[in-house]
């Protein structure tokens, strides 16, 4: 494709307004705080792995170790730069990847929401090695994100026959929670987590996150305790904090949200929750954070217009709905997001947007999905019940 095809007339749309460049007077003026924390052992370990790759760029084991560490760090911080660093380390094998690299290539594709490319890589690996646990697990997770819990359950079941079967149980429980068997998922995971120290730490953290979300679906009294357990196992995890602060916001506990997220403004999804909480409390910082969030949306939109990916649709829809923005625009964003991913949170946004836009028919895809999967979720049920009856 010629680069001329990428020429996009922006003409002011989405070109973010910047302050004028300036030359600071004070050499001590801090311009940027780096995400790494001084003396952080995980950061030192990353630096060590990176140095090993720099020393021997053709060493597959070194590259895999570094790439995996960067991806894990990128996930916890929701920082896409980390995925780029991982990809750079895998460059010698990127075009013609051995299975280990191919699984990572799928993970990176999944992280930029290119689920087709990810599944193609995973299926290719599984065709060669049906017992590859990571490929099977990644495939199950993508199927869950795409709102296909039955397929995910099949993939999870296949994990039992894999090289590493430890993920089979939490995987099946996660699929069950989306397929109308949330009580069963809670029972299995709660039992599994009675001795979390016996589990792989990452597996324990994931299981606890799924447990807390399943409990929230059922509005169980233990929900808060489960979130607490998950936060203890995965402190600072961006996804988990998003789910937890949503739960707090629904219960009017905006003050706690501000306390949890005040330092997490680098993550757009968490900045959204922070801005919503501050807005609700009428805090002075609300305006600045709302402006920052909207600037991020504008820059993301400018990128998408120029050919980048659209990863902000769900966030923008939520923000519009919460701040009294144009409901028709929110609905369009929610619909486009629903085309790509279908988790309960995506269904919530679509239902809320359809109601706000007074277009109950637009909620149909989410209602059909709820019916098809049989998901039990008090929040989804409440939103569905609030929709006006459609004339048929």
């Amino acid at each position: 494709m010629s680069s001329a095809l990428l020429l996009v007339a922006l003409l002011g749309i989405g070109t973010p307004a910047h302050a004028e460049p300036r030359v600071p007077a004070d050499p001590a003026e801090v311009l940027e705080r780096l995400p790494r924390r001084a003396g952080d052992p995980a950061e030192r370990e990353l630096a060590r792995l990176r140095a090993a790759v720099s020393a021997q760029p053709d060493d597959l084991d070194a590259a895999l170790a570094y790439a995996q560490a960067e991806i894990a760090r990128g996930r916890a911080d929701a920082d896409p730069r980390r995925y780029g660093y991982a990809q750079a380390a895998l460059r010698p094998w990127w075009q013609d990847p051995p299975p280990e690299v191919r699984v990572l290539r799928a993970t990176l594709a999944q992280n930029r929401h290119d689920f087709e490319a990810a599944l193609a890589d995973l299926d290719a690996v599984l065709a060669q090695a049906p017992r590859n646990a990571q490929a099977r697990l990644s495939k199950a997770v993508i199927e869950m994100v795409r709102g296909e819990p039955d397929r995910a359950a099949d993939s999870c079941a296949a994990l039992v026959r894999s090289v590493d079967r430890r993920a089979a149980l939490p995987c099946s429980a996660a699929a069950a929670a989306l397929a109308g068997r949330a009580p069963e998922a809670v029972r299995v995971l709660a039992a599994l987590l009675e001795r979390p120290q016996a589990l792989d730490p990452a597996l324990a953290a994931w299981s606890a996150t799924v447990l807390a979300e399943a409990a929230a679906q059922l509005d169980l009294p233990q929900t808060e305790a489960y979130f607490g357990q998950a936060l203890a196992l995965a402190p600072g995890d961006a996804y988990l904090l998003g789910a937890w602060t949503d739960w707090l916001l629904e219960r009017g506990r905006a003050g706690e949200v501000v306390g949890l997220l005040a330092t997490r403004t680098a993550v757009d999804a968490l900045l959204l929750r922070l801005a919503l909480a501050e807005r609700r409390l009428g805090l002075p910082a609300a305006g600045a954070h709302a402006a920052l969030l909207e600037a991020r949306f504008a820059e993301a939109e400018a990128e998408a217009e120029a050919g980048g990916e659209r990863l902000h649709d769900a966030l923008r829809a939520r923000w519009l709905l919460a701040t009294g923005g144009d409901p028709a625009q929110a609905l369009a964003l929610a619909e486009r997001n629903w085309e790509r991913q279908r988790e309960p949170a995506d269904a919530r946004i679509l239902l809320a947007a359809a109601q706000a836009a007074a277009r109950p028919a637009a909620a149909r895809p989410a209602l059909d999905w709820m019916q098809r999967t049989g998901i039990q979720d008090v929040r989804l049920s409440a939103l569905a019940a609030a929709l006006p009856e459609r004339r048929s």
């Binding site: 004070d26 930029r112 600037a295 990128e303 050919g307």
Partner: protein, 385 residues
């Protein structure tokens, strides 16, 4: 433990990655703006996080980058960046990134996702020619998902944005947007050409002008006695026609009205028929400038249609419009200058009144009637008219 098993174990750390709601930080982007004559001024905003990852800025290792740390590395930074943007002229000669003509070499700015270094360069191509193509490769060795968002800013404002990525690192600059003067000259030429190539406008004007060297008394044509009277008559008609078509041309070209082109073309043919018929059966024998004005309104829409086909440069809309209109007037003036002395010389002859005025008008009515039928009914008589 074999490699496959180890991969499986470690990757469990990645599990809920997919379910992360939207994303998070912005990915790594740099912003490039090319502006000025020949796009020779480059402003390049690079995230401090990216510079730190590539060059290591945090000298005192306190997790923060301050202005002192950045400024100390200004030379390294400028050389590092400049080595990762290859700029060439049309001749393929390599251009250099030099110190900027104005403004600081290094400044800072805050984008929504953090602090950025702002590097200013002057792009110097051998022989002072314009920039033609870019090969962008900042950070691709360290982060293949990095992108450069390139903006071109011409005389009339932003031209558009281009994403430079590892897969699309090469970029050919479009021809420099026309400046106001260039647009004026180019569209002036188009205007002249259109009047001469557009036979209907010539016939219309000629039909209106034919009786200008005569005056109508008692139902008959007489030669005008004084040249001044003929001149005033011609000037009045031409001025009225010009004012009228300029008005509708501007209204249509700027998008205020947009009549369908087939209707306009048919109506123009009708105006030619009317103008010529008025010579044979004068309904408006005197003050024919009013006729020129009323019918000229329709011709303006025709000019606008031509201009629409040419495409107006959005960066130089008004100069182009003015140039085109001036071109139309120029073409028209040339016709008048050729016509007036000839008609003045012949006005007393019966050849002029019989053959030229009467015969010419009949011929014009005939030709324009064919046009009218063709254009209104969408027919082709194969007459080549």
């Amino acid at each position: 433990m074999n490699a496959l098993l180890r991969t499986a174990l470690l990757l469990i750390a990645l599990l809920p990655a997919a379910s992360l709601p939207a994303h998070a930080h912005k990915p790594s982007d740099a912003y490039l703006t090319l502006s000025g004559a020949g796009y020779a001024a480059l402003r390049w905003d690079i995230a401090l996080r990216d510079i730190d990852y590539a060059l290591g800025l945090d000298a005192n290792d306190d997790g923060a980058i301050d202005w002192g740390e950045l400024r100390a590395r200004a030379g390294d930074l400028r050389a590092w960046a400049a080595a990762r943007l290859e700029v060439r002229a049309a001749s393929d000669a390599v251009c250099t990134l030099a110190a900027p003509a104005g403004g600081p070499e290094l400044a800072v700015e805050q984008h929504s996702d953090g602090g950025y270094a702002v590097l200013n360069y002057a792009i110097v191509c051998p022989g002072g020619v314009a920039v033609q193509r870019l090969d962008y490769r900042l950070l691709f060795d360290l982060d293949p998902t990095h992108r450069g968002l390139l903006r071109l800013v011409g005389a009339g404002g932003a031209q558009g944005s281009v994403v430079l990525s590892a897969a699309h690192a090469l970029y050919e600059l479009p021809a420099a947007p026309p400046g106001a003067l260039a647009a004026l000259v180019e569209y002036w030429r188009e205007g002249v050409w259109h009047i001469w190539a557009g036979f209907d406008h010539i016939l219309f004007l000629t039909a209106l002008l034919l009786p200008a060297v005569l005056r109508r008394e008692h139902g008959r044509w007489h030669a005008t006695g004084r040249f001044r009277d003929a001149f005033v008559e011609v000037a009045g008609i031409v001025t009225a026609f010009t004012l009228a078509h300029s008005l509708t041309l501007a209204l249509a070209a700027l998008g205020f009205v947009n009549p369908p082109s087939r209707l306009v073309e048919s109506a123009i043919a009708a105006t030619v028929v009317i103008a010529a018929l008025n010579n044979l059966y004068p309904l408006v024998p005197t003050r024919r400038w009013t006729l020129a004005f009323a019918l000229g309104l329709i011709h303006g829409f025709g000019f606008a249609g031509v201009l629409g086909d040419l495409g107006l440069p959005q960066t130089a809309l008004l100069p182009a419009l003015a140039g085109f209109n001036l071109g139309v007037e120029t073409g028209q003036l040339v016709i008048v200058c050729a016509f007036l002395p000839l008609a003045w010389g012949l006005r007393t002859t019966s050849l002029y009144r019989r053959a030229i005025l009467a015969g010419g008008s009949v011929a014009v009515v005939a030709i324009a009637s064919v046009w009218l039928l063709q254009r209104s009914l969408n027919l082709d008589f194969g007459l080549g008219l």
